[in-house]
């Protein structure tokens, strides 16, 4: 509760709204005690006095009544009616919703049909019909406004109740022989109350507006008694000659409703866990760059060369070092594998190349990524955009999520092409068909009219590959492209990629957590753990004798065909969270070869020829790979 209030107070607008709201309510409460004139005493000789006239701070209305007094009494009435309507609507709606949600089945069906029926009315029609039946009057207006809002609460609360009614503790209560009424009161209600409060905080403003509206129409409070709405309604005829009589009550409604809305938004935000974690931030067009150290010099190797790359996630004052000092390079026609568990930083490494790390919270804080010798970190967005897809293309995991669900695959292919060069509609179509053909999609001329959800997973991933090929890039970065697919499809996709690499001289950076895939496709492999490279070298050499204990454990995770009853070894424990890495080796806690000196100080990447390892007690001593 205090945490909630703190969060609420941090939102300055909500705080301001709350303060104004409290002031208005206080004013309404003490109104009878204030030395005000009687709000209903008319004095026609003194009518339409302007604001700040003597004896009438806010002037007088068309019957010479004191506006300040009428305003305060009207506010009191409007607030009372609005809040009462909200409470009535919430209580009735919650009762209906809980009954429908708890009993389910036929009861639920009948009730919700009725609720849907009521919601089929534009709200004012229902309110008007009710007032028409009951006759004009403030109490009837209150009933109408409450009734109109009951379906909203009923529907919300029903949804929540259905979720709770199937929980274990409710089953337990049933088994214990508690009566339904008892279960509702002791088990369901306490869990629903917060939802009711939130729903009320966001609708009470509306209800005050609606009652004011009915009064404005002359269907609510009847003279001489006046709430803010009827004050406005009466003042309307003198709008042009004496606008202040309209402005005074109108501004008051605005102030009340606005402060309630500010407060309501604050309450909602404070209770939304996603907002706290920053998960509702929009990723910018390119990853933010905040490079502090010097730019490392190029070694002049590879088509793509990454040096000492550091990418961090900054969330609420904590820094997660997702990529830490990673260097790599890839040549034309070469396939480089990056392997590691989820959270090892391999995907972030790959996305950093073209500035595709979601930002916020991602920030590239150091290093260089060079394409043909030109540094891309901190390059202007125009430059990055021009290179994306044209020079460096990506293939992502799970093409159902990564293809746009509402565009035909052909149109998505054509868009990839037309993002970089002018093509006519027919030309684009022709290229799209050719692209699908090149990834061995049968009957491509027809399939370009399909939506992603109409294709199988394997077909979708072929589309993903075709899209990456659209502009004949030099480098393809494939981020676990086969993870979501079954084994036979996986093999087909890998063979397509391998053929493309050979026929087009593509450089491929292939990210996976599966050593089996690496063995099939990659020339060289880099093993990542907790944002760092722990081992790298030619694939065969590493497969033959892995040196880092983590590499060895990863390889033990791969089942071997015909390998007999060898136990698949899962690695115990989880990778460390990268916001607070231990000194020394990050793998120490999970390593069965750990020695005290492993944790003493940072361990450097020890290099010998084409191989390198970050371990002081390797499984086998590091040998230079035989070329």
């Amino acid at each position: 509760m205090t945490a909630f209030l703190k969060l609420l107070a941090r939102n300055r607008l909500a705080l301001a709204g709350g303060i104004v709201m409290v002031l208005v309510v206080l004013l309404a409460v003490v109104t009878p005690l204030l030395p005000l004139q009687n709000p209903d005493i008319t004095n026609t000789s003194n009518r339409f006095q302007p604001i700040l006239s003597e004896g009438n701070l806010l002037g007088t209305d068309h019957l010479g009544r004191d506006l300040l007094s009428r305003l305060l009494w009207g506010t009191r009435l409007s607030l009372a009616v609005g809040f009462t309507a909200a409470i009535v609507a919430a209580t009735l709606g919650a009762a209906i919703g809980i009954i429908a949600g708890f009993y389910g089945g036929r009861t639920d069906n009948v009730i919700m049909r009725g609720v849907d029926m009521l919601m089929a009315f534009p709200y004012i029609l229902l309110a008007l019909a009710i007032v028409a039946a009951l006759g004009p009057g403030l109490f009837n207006a209150l009933i109408a406004v409450a009734a109109v809002n009951v379906p909203f609460f009923a529907r919300n609360i029903r949804g929540i109740t259905v979720g709770i009614a199937n929980k274990e503790f409710v089953d337990a209560a049933r088994l214990a022989g508690l009566s339904n009424a008892r279960i509702i009161l002791t088990e369901i209600l306490p869990n629903v109350v917060p939802v009711i409060v939130i729903a009320m905080s966001t609708t009470v403003g509306w209800m005050i507006l609606e009652t004011a509206g009915l009064s404005f129409l002359g269907l609510g409070s009847q003279p001489p008694q006046a709430d803010l709405g009827s004050m406005l309604g009466e003042a309307r005829s003198a709008l042009i000659t004496n606008p202040h009589t309209s402005i005074v009550p109108g501004v008051m409604i605005l102030i009340i409703v606005m402060s309630i809305n500010l407060l309501g938004d604050g309450v909602r935000d404070a209770l939304d866990p996603r907002l706290k974690s920053g998960a509702l931030s929009r990723p910018m067009a390119a990853t933010q760059v905040d490079r502090q150290g010097p730019v490392p010099a190029s070694k002049g190797v590879g088509l793509l060369e990454m040096q000492d790359l550091e990418t961090q996630f900054r969330v609420r004052g904590r820094t997660y070092r997702a990529v830490n000092d990673v260097s790599l390079h890839v040549e034309k026609g070469e396939c480089l594998g990056i392997i590691g568990e989820s959270g090892s930083g391999k995907s972030v490494t790959a996305l950093s190349v073209m500035g595709l790390v979601a930002s916020p919270p991602g920030v590239i804080t150091g290093g260089a990524v060079r394409y043909e010798g030109e540094d891309l970190i901190g390059a202007p967005y125009r430059k990055l955009r021009d290179m994306r897809g044209r020079r460096v293309a990506y293939i992502f995991q799970d093409p159902l999520a990564t293809l746009h669900p509402l565009y035909r695959v052909g149109d998505q292919l054509i868009e990839a092409i037309s993002s970089h060069r002018q093509v006519s509609r027919e030309e684009g179509r022709k290229i799209a068909v050719e692209l699908l053909e090149s990834v061995r999609i049968p009957n491509p001329a027809r399939r370009i009219g399909d939506y992603p959800h109409e294709m199988s997973g394997g077909m979708r991933q072929r589309v993903g590959i075709a899209m990456a090929l659209a502009n004949d890039p030099d480098i393809i970065i494939a981020d676990e492209p086969t993870t979501a697919l079954d084994v036979t499809v996986q093999a087909q996709i890998l063979s397509i990629l391998d053929d493309l690499r050979r026929s087009r001289g593509l450089a491929i950076v292939f990210i996976t957590h599966d050593f089996g895939v690496i063995a099939q496709l990659c020339d060289r492999v880099m093993v990542m753990y907790a944002g760092r490279i722990v081992e790298e070298g030619p694939t065969q050499a590493i497969l033959d004798d892995p040196t880092h204990p983590y590499t060895a454990r990863l390889m033990a995770c791969v089942p071997e065909l015909g390998g007999g009853k060898r136990r698949l070894e899962a690695i115990p424990g989880l990778p460390p969270v990268v916001d607070n890495l231990p000194d020394g080796c990050a793998f120490a806690d999970r390593c069965d070869r750990v020695q005290p000196d492993c944790r003493a100080k940072e361990i450097a990447l020890h290099r010998k020829g084409t191989r390198a390892v970050r371990c002081i007690h390797p499984v086998t001593p590091l040998k230079e790979a035989a070329e």
């Binding site: 028409a132 509206g213 897809g389 746009h404």
Partner: protein, 316 residues
């Protein structure tokens, strides 16, 4: 396939429409006292009251009354408004066209500007554009539309003399499109403001939701311009959750039209209903509510159809 879907949706609307007539009928049946008395006033003789009750079918049991009323409506007979002494249907049709022009314009305005504001807000999240739009939107959803309308009259009609104060047509002069637009601008804007705010809020959060999805990253990885990412990729996907809200807003715009019609003396259904309620012109209220609610139900079917056209994943 599409026609089949539309037909199915239309059929499913029939129980809802029947339900609406039941609700309206029941509410009106609850009216305390004798409707004939209310119509004829306190000077009515008992004979007259009895005759009128017979004419209105009010001497029949409640269920029979409902079916008589329903049957008459189905044949296009909504009865006669006693206060206006003309067929209810004629009066409603005449008024309804005015309301549709006003509410339709406001609906288009709130859809277009609401969505644009929401997209701009989301695309510049936490920036000045976002903060500005968020504040204006908050102001918009907090101001009573009738008060806003009155202030607009003061400023734009009385002070600046840009637009006429009220009404649908000039008292003198041609009743052409320009005259209509001249009179329509202020009420349509005043009516659109609240709904625009609601649509903008929702569009903003729908866009933020979509912008974090994987296919947005794919679009960026292809090299699509940020403009295209926002307006083509993200907005298209966000529309899936924005369109249902537009359907709900249509109801709010229709509701708000009641106030705006009074403030701007626009001769629409809303004003007619309020007058009818104050005069206890029951048949007119019943007919008006049923017709407007029915149109709203049909409009929401159109929204569903639009939704299914936008989203191929919806089974039609």
């Amino acid at each position: 396939m599409m026609t089949g879907y539309i037909l199915k949706r239309l059929l499913s609307a029939i129980p809802v429409l029947l339900g609406i007539t039941v609700i309206v009928f029941l509410i009106m049946a609850l009216i305390p006292g004798d409707p004939a008395m209310a119509i004829l006033g306190s000077y009515a003789t008992p004979d007259n009251v009895e005759k009128l009750n017979r004419d209105l079918g009010l001497d029949q049991p409640l269920v029979a009354q409902y079916f008589i009323w329903l049957g008459n409506m189905l044949t296009g007979d909504f009865g006669t408004s006693f206060a206006l002494n003309r067929p209810v249907l004629d009066e409603i049709m005449e008024r309804y066209s005015a309301t549709l022009i006003l509410a339709g314009t406001a609906f288009v305005l709130c859809s277009v500007f609401g969505v644009i504001a929401g997209v701009l807000s989301a695309a510049n999240q936490y920036g000045w554009v976002d903060k500005g739009i968020t504040f204006v939107v908050l102001l918009g959803i907090s101001i009573p539309s009738f008060f806003l309308g009155m202030m607009m009259i003061l400023l734009f009609a009385v002070q600046l003399r840009w637009f006429p104060v009220s009404g649908r047509w000039p008292i003198y002069g041609a009743r052409d499109l320009w005259a209509l637009l001249d009179h329509l601008v202020m009420p349509a804007l005043a009516l659109a403001v609240v709904a625009t705010g609601v649509v903008a809020r929702l569009s903003r959060s729908a866009m933020l939701e979509v912008l974090r999805q994987d296919f947005i990253r794919t679009a960026r990885a292809k090299g699509v311009h940020e403009r295209g990412v926002i307006w083509r990729h993200a907005l298209r996907a966000a529309m899936v959750s924005i369109i249902p809200v537009l359907g709900i807003q249509a109801g709010f715009v229709l509701s708000g039209a009641v106030y705006i019609e009074i403030v701007f003396q626009w001769p629409g259904v809303g004003r007619m209903l309020v007058d009818a309620i104050l005069r206890r012109d029951i048949l007119l209220v019943q007919g008006g509510v049923v017709i407007v609610a029915a149109c709203y139900v049909l409009f929401n079917i159109m929204v569903d159809v639009a939704q299914s056209l936008l989203d191929p994943r919806i089974k039609t």
